[in-house]
């Protein structure tokens, strides 16, 4: 590496371990989200685990690499999508009669102890997981990595925090 160029992220050991571990961590988060109605866990815990995986990638490879994968704007859209999905599930409860009615389970009750059971609870878990994962990753990005400033055209622009710590 060129001496004048600052190394991005952490050492090679951390980067290699991160490269191996990011898949299993994200998979574990998805597992926690999807079996929230069968075992301990659920949307919130699984979403935070997925956010932790992206935080690990950000810390190991530097912000530019991670933002290329999941930019702040994409995280923001996923956040809104999760919230919208949850409210839509709640409003679809009017099919069964009232707000937040479990209309799928009411119409055709599935046998318990399976992945596809419990009607809207599975869908709500997925929505909450999306929302929590995206929003907590965004909080990490906002607080620790980048600053959002406006450039001359009035557009929002993200810059990386200075390493010196004078801000």
């Amino acid at each position: 590496m060129d001496k004048s160029e600052k190394p991005v992220g952490m050492t090679l050991i951390v980067q290699t371990v991160t490269r191996w571990l990011k898949g299993p961590i994200i998979l574990y988060g998805i597992y926690i989200v999807f079996t929230g109605h069968l075992s301990p866990g659920g949307g919130f815990a699984g979403g935070v685990i997925i956010a932790c995986a992206f935080v690990l990638i950000t810390l190991a490879f530097g912000a530019k690499f991670a933002l290329g994968r999941v930019g702040k704007l994409l995280a923001s859209e996923l956040d809104s999508l999760g919230a919208l999905m949850f409210v839509t599930i709640a409003l679809l409860g009017y099919v069964g009669g009232s707000f937040f009615r479990n209309f799928i389970q009411m119409a055709n009750p599935a046998p318990p102890f399976r992945i596809f059971s419990a009607g809207t609870i599975l869908l709500s878990n997925v929505a909450i997981g999306l929302k929590v994962g995206a929003s907590l990753f965004m909080i990490f990005i906002i607080l620790a990595v980048i600053r959002v400033v406006e450039d001359k055209d009035g557009k929002m622009k993200m810059i990386q925090k200075k390493q010196g710590g004078d801000n």
Binding site: I32, G36, H37, L38, S39, P40, G41, G42, G43, F44, A45, V48, I49, A51, C52, V55, L59, D79, G82, A83, F86, V87, A90, F100, N102, Q105, P109, A110, P111, P112, F113, S117, A118, G119, T120, I121, S124, N125, I128, K131, V132, S135, L136, M138, I139, F140, I142, L143, A144, V145, R147, V148, V149, E150, G154, I159, Q163, G164, G165
Partner: protein, 182 residues
């Protein structure tokens, strides 16, 4: 089992005191995180794995964020003599809160006894009896927070959304007003 919980509580109190009295910001953050991990172990011992998982995971994320946010701004605290008036107000306030707390502790049920289970038609008993049949979810906690009490989860999602909106609004580089003038 109660001995274990008491030991955990003592550990958490010591860690919290260490966080308050720590000389630099980083050791305070680590001590604060020790409080959270002790709390999650306590939840696990008391038989609440759902809350224990969430506590552990959120604690890890919070620790990372706090360390990352504080490690470059190493603020050393300046030890100075406390004023007499402030000390007096603090002691009086602490004493009053202690008296009220003593009354509240007297009114609590014994440790481990269910609070909301006083009558036969209590909602907790209803959830335990009809939860599996009505919602189809094997995990009773999920069936409560996403079906019976889903309004609460909706409120929580709204709080998270608003918090991020606030963080984005506050932590922007420079205020909007300045830009319009210049």
């Amino acid at each position: 089992m109660e001995l274990l919980i008491i030991l955990l509580l003592v550990f958490m109190i010591i860690a919290a005191l260490n966080a308050l009295e720590g000389k630099d910001l980083l050791s305070s953050v680590v001590s604060l995180s020790a409080v959270g991990f002790g709390l999650s172990v306590a939840f696990l011992v008391m038989g609440a794995p759902d809350i224990a998982i969430v506590q552990v995971v959120v604690e890890i994320l919070t620790l990372i964020i706090l360390i990352r946010a504080t490690i470059r701004h190493d603020l050393t605290t300046v030890a100075e003599g406390t004023e007499f008036f402030g000390l007096l107000v603090g002691v009086v306030l602490l004493f009053v809160v202690f008296l009220f707390g003593l009354e509240a502790v007297k009114a609590l049920p014994p440790f481990g006894a269910p609070i909301m289970d006083a009558v036969a038609s209590a909602p907790s008993r209803y959830y335990l009896e009809h939860g599996l049949k009505e919602t189809g979810a094997a995990n009773i906690v999920t069936s409560v927070i996403l079906d019976y009490r889903a309004y609460d989860t909706l409120g929580e999602a709204t709080v998270l959304f608003t918090a991020i909106l606030g963080a984005l609004a506050i932590l922007r580089g420079r205020p909007l007003k300045k830009k319009k003038k210049g």
